[in-house]
Structures are given as C-alpha cells and as structure tokens.
C-alpha cells in the first residue's frame, strides 16, 4: 500500500512540473493562437540559467529560490524580446506560419545554449533545506517532491486569481474566447499578446528552473518536453489553464502506475491518452468549439493551370534533372535523390494541408511506415526491391486509412495534434518492438536490386517514382477529387449541401497523402540501405511542415520550392559549426521577408519586376 502511495506522490510531483510548462503554452495559444514550439526552449533556458545562478549562490535557501525566480523572470524577458522582434511581425501570416518561426527560434536557442554552457550534461545542486527524504507509510519520499506537489496547485491558484481578479486577466480570458471582439472593444491587442507571451515564457522558465534538483540539465530538454506539453494542453483544451492542470495530473498519475505493469509504455502513454480524449471530446476536456482555428484568413486564389512559360521552365528543369547523371558526381546524385524524396514528401503533405486544409504534425508517420514496410518485407519475406516498393506505400496507405478515420473527425489544431499522437504511437512501437523493427538499431541491409545498385541507375528509379508521384499529386490537385477537397476546406456546409460526403472525402485524401509519403519513404530506405525510428520522428514531421510552409502553402509549387531549398540549405549548412544557429537564422529571415512563403515571395517579386517594366 505504501509503495502505491509513494508512486502516486511521484506522479503528482511530475504533474506539477508538467503543469507549469503546459499552462504557459496554453495561455500563449489561447491568446495569440500561436503553436509555440520554442516553449521547450524557454524551459531549457530556465533550467540552464538556474543552474548557473544556484551554483554561484550555492547552499543558501534564499540563493536557491532567488535563483529560480530570477531565472524565470529572465526567460520572461527573453519571451518579450522574441515576441517584439519576430512574432509581432507575422501575426497576419497564414495559420501555423508562426510555428515555423518558433522552430527557427528553437534551433538558434539550441546553439546559443551550446556555446554558453557546453555539450556536457550539468548536474545541479539539490534544494537547500529540501534535500532529504521523508518516510511516508514506510516509503522514502524526497522532500523536494512534496514541495513540488504544493507548488503546482499554488501556481494554478495564482493564475486563477490573476485571471479572475485583475482587469488584465479578464481581457486575457476574453481574448481566448473571441479575439476580434476584444479588438473591436478598443483593447490594444499588441500589448495583450506581448503580456501573454511574457507570462507564458515565465511559467516555462519556472518549470525548467524547478527541475534543477530533479534531473540533469541537457541540450535535449527542449524537444523532449515539448511533445508532452502539447499533449497536456490539448487534453485540457487549448487555452484552458485549469484543463492543463487536470490533464497534467491525469497523464502523470496514469504514467506512474502504468510503468509498473508495462515499463515500455511511458513513451506512448501520453499520446494514447490524448488520442482517446480527442475521439471522445474533440475539443479536449475543457476546450470549446471555435478555439481550434487562428485568425480568419484571406481565401486562396482560384487554381490556374500553368502558363506556357512556366510549363517550359518546369519541363527544362525536369529534363536537366533527368540528364544530370551524365555529368554529375556520385555524391551529387545522392543529394539529388534526397531532394526528390523530400519534394515528394512535401508535396504529399501539401496535398493534405494546403489543398485539404488538414494540418498534420505527424506526416512522417506514413513516410516511416512506408520505409519500414519495405525494409521488413525485404528482411522477413525476402521481397525483391520492386515488390517491396509496392508493399511499403500500401502499408503507409493502410496506416493512414486507420489513423485518418479518427483524424478527419476533428479540425484545426486538434486534428494536427491527433496526427502527432498517431505518429508518436507508431514511433514508440517501432522504437520498442525490437524483434521486428530492430528498435534503436533500425533495419540494415535494405539495398536496391543488383540491376539498380549503381548510383546512376538508382537515381533513375528514384526519378521515375518521385517525379511520377509529384506529377500524379499535382494532377490530382486539378482533378474533381482535389477540387472537392479544396471545396470542403473552404466550406464544409456548402460541400454537404451539394451532396458531398465530407468525412469520407477527407479520409480518402488523408489516405492518398499517406500513401505517397510512404512512397517517398520507400525510395529513401533503398537509397540509404537502412531505416531507423527517426524516419517517423517529430523532427522529420517538422521538416515537412517547414518545407510546405516556407515554400508557401497557398501555391501548388510551394512545397517544391520549399523542399528543394530546404535540402540544399541543410546539406550546405550542416557541414558548418553552429549550423543550427545559421539554419534557424535563415528560417527567420525567410519568415520575416516572405510571410507568404518562397512561392509567394517569388510571385510578388515577378509582379514587381513586370510592373517596373511596363
């Protein structure tokens, strides 16, 4: 009995840490509708700053708690700087474009942190006065855990008082429900947004600061916490702080007990819980309809077929690509295959997000399932390359049909989060099902057939599959199927009213996008000769998002521009020191200069040139 109680207390202590970071994320989303990937960075910086301050003032109770508060305040200030210099300029950009900007911030913060504190994990001191364990029902419980259990609800109470007893808090709650209305009432939104961002960053910093006595400070803290923090926010209902608290307790306590039964479950448990909650309550436990979308957008322009000149340019580019093996070196061939794979992946994601309006944070799942499907077919069933290349996309489409059935019932950020949950569950399975997937070691020896084993020949295999796939998806965008998907995105009401089964259609769109992501994954697997779990990881999904959003979500050519630029820049930059910083900076520059993506920027540039000539 005592043991279970101890387990419960551990769960509650974890819940407090998780709540601190999730509450800030929820407040920021509620007011600004920004999906803030940099929230994990705030958390990490809070921890590093506290480490420095607390080791400097070591030993004293005041030094510890003073350090914690000071570090959190500094992170709040960092949040203010980021809001003022970056986010404020792009609030009117397409939905989720800010997400790319915050990811640029993540990369920059990672390298700045590396430069200041080094790559070694740092072990902070324990909290003075709370460094022992007390026995409760015979079990040792760290005093610090008990302090955390008290801090969580205390912070919740403080936020509640702030929101219900101050004018500012009332405005924040009002803005969470209806931003336009608050603006119409004459409230200075810019100021409200900054304040919400600072408060959110402060809470994330505080969450990181309080982790010092519990875990080593490391450069992986940012991305390891962000997934779970999103889950908590979504389960609670985006924008709801008390919802975040309930969700944090739910997840942490469930986890504390589930690991007793099934130790491997902790990786996927939060995502399974989120999936179940979203299926039962599509807006989270305390969320309300209408909180799933950002500011209303300008509608897309009608699709037009390519002008003759663009078609010529495109045909020339494809022809040059086809002829490149004659002149290019082997490493260029490999890079070009990477470019084609990334482009097909991005185009398939764009088919879903841009045309279908279904944002996915977990599109890598189907890329990875395609890759693993082919690899496992080769390894376990002795499939040749070509049959495996058919089998992989079929697996991916099947997975997309399964998860898509749940996902298309939601919309906006909630849909995106359910796709993320699906991807994390698949990733967890791949990571832990060692006997079949090789776990962390992946599957090796997935080589092309003998006739295709030279870089040149494999280039043509990849060329046919990827360019063929891209051509097909482009064609599909102009087909009745694609038009119907766009119609449902524009107006679900109108689509229903002309007899369209919207759920079924979106479901099929999801499956098609998943199948082609799987095709990209298959080409990738055979070009590398191996597959690893990170092919379905969050990072791969985010790469896809960046390609689509940077390229320009409103143009069919957007994902092509985005993917080519992304892979080229990545290939060049990753050879440099501090490449994350440079890459992050490039992302921010593009975001700030071309809020409609590269395709939009190019279009405006062309128009300006034409206008100048006329």
């Amino acid at each position: 009995m005592g043991f279970y109680f101890a387990q419960l207390l551990t769960g509650l202590a974890n819940a407090s840490s998780l709540f601190l970071i999730a509450s800030g994320l929820s407040i920021i989303f509620g007011v600004t509708r920004i999906v803030n990937f940099a929230h994990g960075s705030f958390y990490m910086v809070g921890a590093y700053l506290t480490y420095t301050l607390v080791t400097m003032w070591s030993g004293s109770v005041l030094g510890f708690w003073g350090g914690v508060i000071l570090a959190a305040a500094a992170v709040g200030l960092l949040g203010l700087v980021i809001e003022l210099t970056i986010l404020r300029r792009i609030y009117k950009a397409p939905e989720l474009f800010q997400l790319v900007a915050t990811f640029g911030v993540v990369l920059i913060v990672q390298d700045v942190t590396l430069a200041i504190w080094g790559a070694e994990d740092l072990l902070g001191p324990r909290a003075p006065g709370l460094d022992r364990a007390v026995r409760i029902m015979g079990e040792p419980i760290p005093e610090y855990d008990l302090a955390l259990i008290a801090i969580g609800p205390a912070v919740l109470l403080a936020i509640w008082l702030l929101f219900h007893r101050t004018r500012w808090g009332v405005l924040v709650r009002a803005a969470t429900q209806d931003r336009e209305m608050v603006g119409a009432l004459g409230v200075n939104q810019a100021w409200l947004f900054s304040a919400a961002f600072v408060l959110g960053a402060f809470l994330a910093g505080l969450g990181g600061a309080l982790q010092i006595p519990r875990e080593a400070v490391s450069l992986q803290m940012d991305l390891s916490i962000i997934g779970e923090a999103f889950v908590v926010v979504v389960i609670g209902g985006m924008g709801s702080v008390s919802g975040a608290f309930v969700a944090a307790v739910l997840i942490s306590v469930l986890n504390a007990f589930a690991i007793l039964v099934f130790p491997q479950i902790s990786i996927v448990l939060p995502f399974v819980v989120m999936a179940v909650v979203l299926i039962v309550r599509p807006y989270g436990l305390f969320g309300k309809p209408g909180s799933e979308h950002g500011a209303p957008e300008e509608p897309d322009q009608p699709l037009t077929l390519m002008s003759q000149r663009s078609a010529m340019v495109l045909a020339t580019a494809v022809a040059l690509l086809a002829l490149s093996p004659a002149v290019a070196a082997d490493f260029t061939m490999i890079l070009l295959v990477d470019v084609m794979v990334a482009t097909l992946f991005a185009v398939s994601l764009h088919f879903m997000m841009g045309i279908g309006g279904m944002v996915s944070f977990g599109h890598a799942a189907y890329f990875g399932v395609g890759a693993y499907g082919a690899a496992m077919a080769v390894k376990f069933f002795d499939f040749g390359m070509l049959p495996a290349m058919v089998f992989g996309p079929v697996c991916a489409a099947t997975a997309a049909i399964f998860f898509g059935w749940f996902c298309v019932r939601l919309s906006g950020v909630y849909l995106a989060m359910l796709t993320l949950a699906a991807a994390q569950i698949l990733w967890g399975v791949t990571f832990q099902w060692q006997d079949f997937t090789g776990g962390d070691d992946g599957i090796l020896g997935v080589w092309p057939a003998k006739w295709a084993s030279s870089d040149q020949v494999y280039f043509y295999v990849a060329f046919v599959l990827c360019i063929g796939g891209i051509w097909f998806l482009r064609r599909a965008a102009h087909s009745p199927f694609g038009y119907t998907l766009r119609g449902i995105r524009d107006s679900q009401t109108r689509a229903e009213a002309i007899g369209i089964n919207t759920n079924l259609h979106q479901w099929m769109g999801f499956a098609l996008a998943g199948g082609f992501a799987g095709l990209a994954g298959v080409v990738f697997a055979f070009s590398k000769g191996s597959v690893f779990p990170d092919s379905l990881g969050i990072a791969q999904s985010i790469d896809g998002l960046i390609m689509v959003l940077l390229g320009g979500i409103h143009a069919l050519a957007g994902p092509i521009f985005g993917a080519v630029a992304f892979v080229m820049i990545e290939d060049w930059v990753t050879r440099l020191d501090y490449w994350r910083f440079i890459f992050g900076a490039i992302i921010l520059i593009v975001v700030l200069l071309a809020p409609d993506g590269i395709a939009g920027g190019v279009r405006r540039l062309l128009r300006a040139v034409k206008g100048g000539a006329a």
Partner: protein, 257 residues
Amino acid sequence: MTHVLEVRGLSKSFDGVHAVRGVDFDLTEGEFLALIGPNGAGKTTCFNMLNGYLRPDAGSVRLRGAELIGRPPRKIWRMGVGRTFQITATFLSMTVLENVQMALISHHHRVFDLFSRATRLYVEQAMALLELVSMQDQARRACSELAYGDLKRLELAIALAHEPALLLMDEPTAGMAPSERIALMALTAEIVAKGGVSVVFTEHDMDVVFAHAHRILVLNRGELIAEGSGAEIRANPLVQEVYLGGGTSFVQEGAHA
C-alpha cells in the same frame, strides 16, 4: 394536383421548449410558398428539419412519397432538394463557374475522379445555369471578389444545378439592399414559372412575400396559425394580432413559462 412535399405532424422541442409543434402542410407542384412568422416562431427550426440538419421529435416529411426524415443533408440533396443559405456558403477559393461545376460534378457522381481536369467538366451546363441567374459575365471571377447580392444569385444557380424538384431558401434576401431583394425574388419567381421546381422560402420582408408568394403559411410559437393567399393573410385577424401585437401574446408567453 400532385403534391411535391407532404409535411405531417412535424414537432421539435429544445430542453422542454416547443420550438415547432404539429406542423402540417402540403406543397403543390410548381408552387412558390412562403413560411413567415415573427422572430422565434420556429421558421428556421422547421426549415432545418426539412433539409436534414435537425432531426424532429415526431412527424414526417415526404418528397413525392419518399420519407426524408432520418437522412443526412447530402442524401436529401441527392433526392432532389436544393437549398440556399441565410448566410451565403460558397467555395471562396474557386471561380464563380467552378462553384457551379462542383455541384454538377457531385451530381454526376464524379467527386472521386482523380484523372480529369475539374475545370473542363460540365462547362456548358454550368454556363447555362449562370445565364439563368444573369451571372454569365462574372463566370471567371474569383468567388471571393463578388458583391453579396451576386453571391446570393450564384447560390441560386448552384442550388438549381441538379434540377431539384424542391428548392428550400432560408431568408433568401437577408442582408441585401431593398432593390436587390425584389430583383432576386422576381428572378426566383421567373424560374418557378418556367416549371419543374417548387420553392419553400422563409422571409422577413413582407413586401417580398406579398409580391411573389403563391401561398403563405404563418407560424407563431411553433404552430401554424394561418394559411392562404396574400390578401387572405393580410385580412386575417390572428395574423394581425401576432404581427401588430394585441398584448395577448405576451400574456400567453407568461403562461407558458
């Protein structure tokens, strides 16, 4: 005369409040029927039960003998019921022509076609429909650039695309300038006069109703209180009381609560 639509005993209550109670009416082939009543009379509730957005507690709605209750809106559309919305709903990222083409594509069961070019399908039929509502000159414009009155006319063209037997128009002139209202309803009346389609519409603007409706149904507090031609309705003391107020309606309201 044959009945296109037969509504019997249609009832719906929300949390114990009777929004619509025992509504019966028939619609004759080629009829242009107005459903009117003061705010909160149950017009929209009634309408949403006809087009499948709301499931009634009791009653039946038959289109040429086939029951509509229990079918989703898209099935009801397939059975030959078109509709326009109080607040227009169109595909804003498409052109005017493409909006009509979409309705035709869906009508011909080609939404899953992955290989044709959507913009090349049913161009002539779509143009003919746009001509019917005098929108042919704006066919290539982006739907997002249209004036509100033009959006309403576009919706009418979309609603007629599958040659419906019945057209349901929810507050067709809401939000329009007075001159546009008359024009839109005159256009609708013309289309009805050509034959093939019958119309039920709800409306606030009495000028529009009396100018065009063949027959008028008056709803008050969820019940049909009168039915007849424009002249009959105008002369009906019960209707006058509801619209002009005799004080009694407030007393009754108190008694209900």
